[in-house]
């Protein structure tokens, strides 16, 4: 679960990490009011849950309250990568000496958390990692030891700081790690972490993604899993999530339903191989119920972009008869408004096929054959 910049910063500030002075505003008038409590110049920052906000014009600067109002009005009317900007963060602009990067994420190969620092901040860290690997410092965190104060000092030291400034930076990194573990962060970043003109450090931007699987330990966030305002999900994605379906909207023309993440991905690939373009990824998971199948089909049938729907089920825990029941219910309730190609094999296959065949629905054996046919129907 992604948190907004202002939420992440509030968490950092609470744990003692310096952040810019500022506050949230939902309207230009409110933005002006917030700014009136601050010292100019000001930063006006769109609060959206996608990266690349800066390049999209979602961060503006202002020297006067009037400019704040104008900039806020502009940003609040934007859509960034399809997401409406619902609020802006008004802050005092920081006097930058240097922009740094510090983040903690997961290292899959080493099976541990990794702390990553760079003296090149404010840009995409992956680009720095590939272009200037010598500017990246990593500490792989032994889970039995954690990220200790000496790890923080090692990093601060390698970033070129010494004396009290090194200790100050190390102190911030240590607190940051505490925030990361306390929030089950999958990714947490200060980018940029700014060295100010007077030698202090301020987290000028912050990003925090909580491990969805750990949300049961963070109930205050779990509640909003299904709230459109608080996630970057589309209406359909939230609908799917509520139904326990893994759904990702794409921009093709063949709607796809399958069971099992790998199989669904392979189905998308097969459709593309035969010249189609997947409209989505939709995994009903293992042991899907009739109701889940109904919900999955409803989502795709109402998707204007999907001209054909391809259902690819290989039953293991999933029962073919249960899937067939779902398909039949949808046929009865709303009718098929577009062509549907069905491949159905595995557990209770015969019963499922019989039910569908009796209802006049043709069922295929081979996934690849079915994919070809789905593309042919376009």
């Amino acid at each position: 679960m992604k948190l907004y910049e202002h939420e992440a910063k509030t968490i950092l500030a609470k744990s003692g990490i310096p952040t810019p002075t500022g506050s949230l505003a939902a309207s230009p008038t409110q933005a002006k009011k917030v700014a009136s409590q601050l010292h100019p110049p000001y930063a006006v920052k769109a609060q959206v849950l996608v990266a690349g906000r800066g390049k999209a014009g979602g961060i503006l600067f202002a020297n006067s309250l009037k400019e704040v109002e104008k900039a806020s009005s502009k940003v609040l009317n934007m859509k960034i990568k399809g997401l409406r900007v619902g609020s802006v963060l008004i802050e005092e602009k920081i006097r930058v000496k240097k922009e740094l990067y510090f983040g903690i994420t997961i290292d899959r190969s080493r099976r541990c958390y990794v702390a990553i620092a760079s003296t090149t901040g404010g840009v995409d860290i992956e680009e720095v990692a590939s272009d200037k690997p010598e500017k990246i410092f990593k500490v792989f965190i032994d889970p039995t030891l954690g990220f200790r104060s000496y790890h923080a000092r090692q990093i601060a030291n390698k970033m070129g700081y010494s004396g009290k400034q090194m200790l100050r930076l190390a102190g911030i990194l240590e607190k940051f790690y505490k925030v990361a573990t306390e929030h089950d962060a999958e990714l947490i970043e200060m980018n940029p972490l700014i060295e100010t003109a007077d030698g202090g450090f301020v987290a000028a931007d912050a990003r925090l993604i909580i491990d969805d699987n750990a949300l049961y330990r963070h109930l205050q966030y779990k509640e909003r899993l299904f709230s459109k305002d608080k996630t970057e999900l589309t209406t359909e994605e939230i609908r799917a999530k509520k139904a326990g379906l893994a759904y990702v909207q794409l921009d093709g023309n063949v709607g796809i339903i399958g069971n099992g993440a790998g199989l669904v991905m392979a189905t998308l690939d097969a459709v593309q191989l035969y010249g189609g373009k997947p409209a989505n990824f939709l995994d009903v998971g293992g042991g899907a119920s009739k109701q889940q199948v109904v919900e999955a089909l409803n989502i795709l049938l109402t998707d204007q972009q999907a001209h054909v729907v391809f259902i690819n089920i290989l039953g293991g825990i999933t029962r073919c008869d249960e899937v067939a029941k779902g398909i039949l219910e949808v046929q009865k309730e709303m009718g098929f408004v577009k062509p549907i190609i069905i491949r159905l094999v595995g557990t209770n296959e015969e019963e499922g096929r019989r039910m569908l065949t009796e209802a006049g629905i043709h069922v295929l054996d081979s996934m690849e054959e079915a994919a070809k046919k789905a593309v042919d129907m376009l």
Partner: protein
């Protein structure tokens, strides 16, 4: 033969009284897996499909000499179950449970490393050595004993491919799922090493997907070590956009990292045949693994 599990594997089912644990215990027993006991805290004393249930794994190891565990315990308690199994001396732990927090998985893997435990999963369909033992939730009938080792990052896609191989007369030595999470116990290189030593295995199928770099690591290993057995790969997710999780927590392209293109290129550079579609895999195996056909005849004792 095969790897990790065989007919001598003595299994404890952790979470045996839950719906999933109960259901799959029956299927595993039907298959012939030696399930010696189950564990559900607070339910010690009952029996499930004739299998005695205990409160702790410690007891099961003492009384039934269990040496492997399969875990169906709900996510918030699954890590604890894995630690319990490892501390009790279990050397193979198969974690079926999905949605385990990453922080918990990291701790499981650190503990496993300390004790030399093989962890399969989390979020895996499990492992099957056809004709010998199954610790998993895969439909058993699509597998048949033979010479192809399969390691996969996906469940259903593995069934798709295994069923096709079986239909085409290509039996399997051992098939297992690494697990769909970002942090799992085994990677493809581990699988390759074990299949290399297994005399039953004469070819290896690696079923990869987007996210992470276990495919790239495997490719490098195959090239560097001049891997002596035939390897065929499939990579799912060529159409996946960056930044979106494709069902599995681990199936995500981060920026330019973890794309299917990168993985396919790595395999091809290492001389590994990459199938465009699942059905190609059997074709490649038939063409490039003449020995595979020989052993199939033996693969019928299932």
């Amino acid at each position: 033969m095969g790897i990790i599990v065989d007919r001598n594997t003595r299994v404890v089912v952790q979470g045996i009284t839950g719906a999933q644990g109960n259901f799959h215990t029956r299927l595993m027993l039907d298959f012939g897996t030696q399930i010696v006991a189950g564990v559900t805290p607070g339910k010690g004393g009952v029996k499930i499909h004739g299998v005695p249930v205990y409160d702790t794994v410690e007891e099961v190891v003492l009384k039934h000499r269990a040496n492997a565990s399969i875990i169906f315990v709900p996510a918030p308690f699954a890590a604890d179950a894995a630690h319990e199994a490892m501390e009790a001396g279990i050397k193979v732990v198969v974690v079926i449970t999905e949605h385990i927090p990453i922080r918990d998985s990291i701790q499981i893997m650190a503990h496993a490393k300390q004790r030399g435990v093989t962890v399969i999963g989390p979020n895996t369909p499990g492992i099957i050595t056809p004709g010998e033992s199954k610790l998993g939730i895969m439909p058993a009938h699509i597998f048949k004993q033979g010479g192809v080792g399969i390691a996969s990052r996906s469940g259903t896609l593995t069934y798709e491919i295994a069923a096709e191989l079986t239909k085409r007369g290509l039996g399997q030595s051992t098939c297992f799922g690494l697990g769909g999470d970002p942090i799992v116990g085994l990677n493809f290189v581990d699988a390759l090493k074990m299949f290399e030593k297994d005399i039953q295995t004469n070819a290896v199928v690696l079923i990869g997907e987007i996210g992470g770099d276990v495919e790239e690591q495997a490719a490098e290993y195959i090239a560097t070590m001049k891997y002596p057995k035939n390897v065929v790969a499939f990579v799912a997710g060529r159409t996946a956009p960056p930044g979106k999780r494709m069902g599995h927590a681990g199936a995500i392209v981060m920026g330019k990292a973890g794309t299917a293109e990168s993985k396919i290129a790595a395999f091809r550079n290492a001389g590994v045949k990459v199938a465009e579609k699942p059905s190609d895999i059997a074709n490649f195996l038939h063409v490039y693994t003449p020995k595979a056909r020989k052993l199939e005849g033996e693969g019928t004792r299932t």
